[in-house]
Assembly symmetry: D2
Homo-oligomer: 133 residues x 4
């Protein structure tokens, strides 16, 4: 299994008036770790520079298990959790450097052509993703 761990820190802009992080912050962190994983697996710029198809998210979920505050340091880990004909499932976790897993997540993305129709994952990408399972 190939995974990417991105070391990060809660930024002030990630917080809200509760004093804790806003719940959308980990969803941004997931993508940072995922894109780093994809650049490693696919080379070059990774996924988003592709022009012949898109890979939009069709399902996003996150479970929040422990609080995060500015300026906590953490690792956000991304890995490939599943590969279908047209889809890829990513799994994530956010672990504070001093301890607990704070957030876990899962995102499903589906390959679509430039007209928005679902299409099979390109063979080379599918091979790279499957090899990282």
């Amino acid at each position: 299994m190939v995974e990417h761990a991105e070391r990060m820190r809660v930024a002030w802009v990630d917080t809200d008036a509760s004093g804790l992080i806003h719940y959308t912050a980990p969803l941004r962190w997931f993508e940072v770790a995922e894109h780093a994983l994809m650049r490693r697996l696919l080379g070059g710029r990774g996924l988003p520079a592709e022009r012949t198809f898109l890979l939009p998210r069709v399902h996003v979920e996150a479970d929040f298990r422990a609080p995060l505050r500015y300026p906590d340091e953490f690792e956000c880990v991304a890995r490939i959790a599943g590969v279908g004909r047209s889809s890829v499932t990513f799994a994530y976790d956010v672990r504070r450097l001093d301890g607990p897993v704070c957030v876990v997540g899962r995102i499903v993305a589906v390959a679509v052509d430039l007209d928005g129709h679902t299409m099979p994952l390109p063979a080379e990408m599918r091979a790279a993703l499957t090899g990282a399972l």
Copy 2:
């Protein structure tokens, strides 16, 4: 059933280099509609000004069914989908004014005291939420 429909528009900052919205944008919209619903149900400032407890999100999910682009107009609807002893479940959908439901979502929040321990929903809040089911 009480629900709140907030009429909104995709902002330029909600988009990313794909040309479509970034997947975190609807999660911000969910909260705008939810807070408006809570202000209506609870009066005053609604939930976030409460100081004797917090209501952090423990689960967030969204399914993306149709694309959204700048400057699409849409309605984001929030409603109470479930009330537990300590938790409340919100449901959301985002419907373009010219047609399809683009995003549906669900968020579970749990009451915790200021030390972070789960506690029952305050009785008055629980009554208001249950009355909106």
Copy 3:
């Protein structure tokens, strides 16, 4: 003088752990009001859908005069403050519905062709902007 006033409300996600808004929030509001003004002046989708040139910001500034908190209601006003050969200057202010001007801002944008070279504002756009001064 043509101006656009957008009525808005501070969202929870606009706040940070200080309990007040994060300083980037008004810069997002400026753009919402500006784009509404541009759609009115230019018709259709306004500026961002243009494909033959871009209008990137080259200077952004804001002065913060009074605090804003969730869930304050306010108006964000955008107007054309200046039109040059290649540039347009927008001015903004954010006024709480219950009183003071909280933020004022100014943004300068410059027309560039798709290779990134400065170019004159297209004549039709220049006429529309100048007419709104």
Copy 4:
């Protein structure tokens, strides 16, 4: 002169439908570098954990000189540009690892007590900031 250089990368969420970064992204980066500088100068959590006063921004400005795209790597440098009786001025620049300075910025923050009245910078903070000029 003490400065902090934070090495960062343009994230996908920093972009908009123009294909370039949204203009608010560098303003978030400025703060990341500034907070790292302040933690170094002041120890501990740096500024934001202070409870006896706040240091809100009263003026923010940025000049955009060269484009940034996903996934460009860059350094964001923060330094103390001025210290007044009640205020501190930060200066920033964002330089792509492969070359040009892309964005420069300046932020003025002013110490206010918990009632919102301007107050002198606490002596210890003023000394630390002045020593970093």
